[in-house]
């Protein structure tokens, strides 16, 4: 197991929290969704403004600038895709994380 895969559960849980915040839903509301759920699916309902909020929050929390590093925005494909994109770029959770 490498450093990236060890951080997956932490990153995925945090991504779900940031996502819930971005689409203005209750924390925990998205926890039951499979990781393969598309961010643009109606269950999540990401659109351009909430997408901007999500990318800003991911940048703040993980220091990963998805908009600049992923020109195709493939990371927005699903919860799993965004988790993978972020996790491979952060070796360990930031010490001032929650």
């Amino acid at each position: 197991m490498n450093a990236a895969t060890e951080t997956y559960p932490y990153v995925e849980q945090t991504i779900r929290e940031l996502l819930a915040e971005a689409v203005l839903t209750e924390p925990g509301e998205l926890d039951h969704l499979p990781a393969e759920t598309s961010l643009f699916a109606p269950e999540i309902g990401l659109e351009s403004l909430s997408g901007m909020r999500l990318l800003a929050a991911v940048h703040r929390r993980f220091g990963v600038d998805v908009a600049a590093e992923d020109l195709n925005l493939d990371a927005l494909e699903s919860i799993a895709a965004l988790t993978g994109f972020v996790a491979t770029r952060v070796a360990e959770p930031p010490s001032d994380g929650p």
Binding site: L46, E47, S48, L49, L55, A67, L71, L73
Partner: protein
């Protein structure tokens, strides 16, 4: 520092500039009479697409008196009357109107106030009252070169003020507010009268601009003259507060040598004033509809990511447009989307008038 041609709003000082007296030193509650010369300058600016506001270091309660005077209320948007630095007032105007501080000018008879703004906002233009004539001379005098959107800017900024107030007072959800606004989107093919505005949108939009392709008016006109090669769709928006005018345009090539069954969106440009209302998505959806009805199998879109168009990139991704191939040396890629797949839904809060189908 800003030059005359980039100025969108002039903020006027009151005492000693708009009128000769000092308003709060009057014994009655009436406001002093503005000088005819300044009122004329304000109207000439408005004809050139430059709106006027107020930046006065004075008693904030004078605002009510200002708003009750028709000759003043109709001329000023987002007036700032407060015991605060003029640079603070200019920042407020910039926020309320959604324009940069580099598009603002202050006219003030007080050298201290001019110096304060020069120091705090070096990007803004700072003028003494006697320099206003020079500003007017530097603006394009020919009203024919002004688009209807530029000419209607004063009215539109006032409507925007009302919208912002209504939104902050609205108690329901964002979607309920959007529905309450009764937005109507008119989707049609561009006509000769739209050429200048299409070129202006292409040149002046950044946030909702896909490729930064900035065709001259002649090139837009040339595209209109070849409807078998080019589709030039435009979008106009209105709501319960008024009309936004023509807020979206695209240049769509109906023939792509490499992919004969594809339409290629070379440029998608929408005013940022309509961001966050589903307008851009519905416009893209309508272009896809039109392409599909004309027999295209897929839509291509030339995308050039910038620091400012991330929002549009997310929207395109949401609409199913994805980059298949490589990015070229200018940082562009071609996004694609098959039209056999279900198209993105139209926004339920927007009603649409569609005409001029290609």
């Amino acid at each position: 520092m800003a030059s005359g041609s980039t100025i969108k709003c002039v903020a006027w000082d009151l005492d000693g500039t708009l009128w000769d007296e000092v308003a709060i030193e009057r014994t009655d509650s009436a406001l002093p009479q503005p000088t005819a010369e300044v009122l004329r300058a304000i109207d000439r600016l408005a004809e050139r697409g430059v709106v006027s506001s107020v930046a006065s270091r004075t008693d904030p309660t004078l605002l009510t008196a200002l708003q009750q005077r028709d000759d003043l209320a109709s001329r000023f948007v987002a007036p700032q009357l407060a015991w605060q630095d003029k640079s603070v007032s200019l920042r407020r105007i910039s926020e309320e109107l959604g324009i940069g501080t580099d598009a603002l000018a202050l006219v003030d008879d007080d050298a201290y106030e001019r110096a304060e703004v020069r120091a705090a906002l070096p990007e803004a233009l700072v003028l003494a009252p006697e320099q206003v004539a020079g500003l007017l001379d530097s603006l394009p005098a020919d009203p024919d070169t002004l688009t209807p959107e530029a000419r209607a800017r004063v009215r539109r900024y006032r409507e925007e003020e009302q919208r912002k107030q209504a939104e902050s007072a609205f108690t329901g959800s964002r979607e309920e507010f959007l529905a309450w606004c009764r937005m109507r989107l008119r989707l049609r093919t561009a006509e000769a009268g739209d050429v200048a505005r299409v070129a202006e949108l292409a040149a002046r939009t950044h946030r909702l601009n896909s490729s930064q392709l900035a065709p001259e008016a002649e090139e837009v006109a040339a595209a209109l003259a070849q409807p078998q090669r080019w589709h030039v769709p435009v979008a106009e928006l209105s709501d319960r507060f008024g009309a936004y005018g023509l807020i979206g345009a695209a240049l769509v090539q109906r023939e792509v040598a490499a992919e004969p069954d594809a339409w290629e969106i070379r440029l998608l440009a929408l005013s940022c004033r309509v961001a966050g209302r589903g307008v851009a998505r519905d416009f893209v959806r309508w272009i896809m509809d039109t392409a599909r009805q004309a027999g295209a199998a897929r839509v291509r879109l030339v995308l050039r990511p910038t620091d400012t168009n991330t929002e549009l990139r997310i929207l395109l991704r949401q609409c199913g447009l994805q980059a298949g191939g490589a990015w070229d040396e200018e940082g562009r890629a071609v996004l694609r989307r098959e039209l056999v797949e279900p198209l993105p839904a139209y926004s339920p809060w927007l009603s649409r008038d569609e005409e001029g189908r290609a």
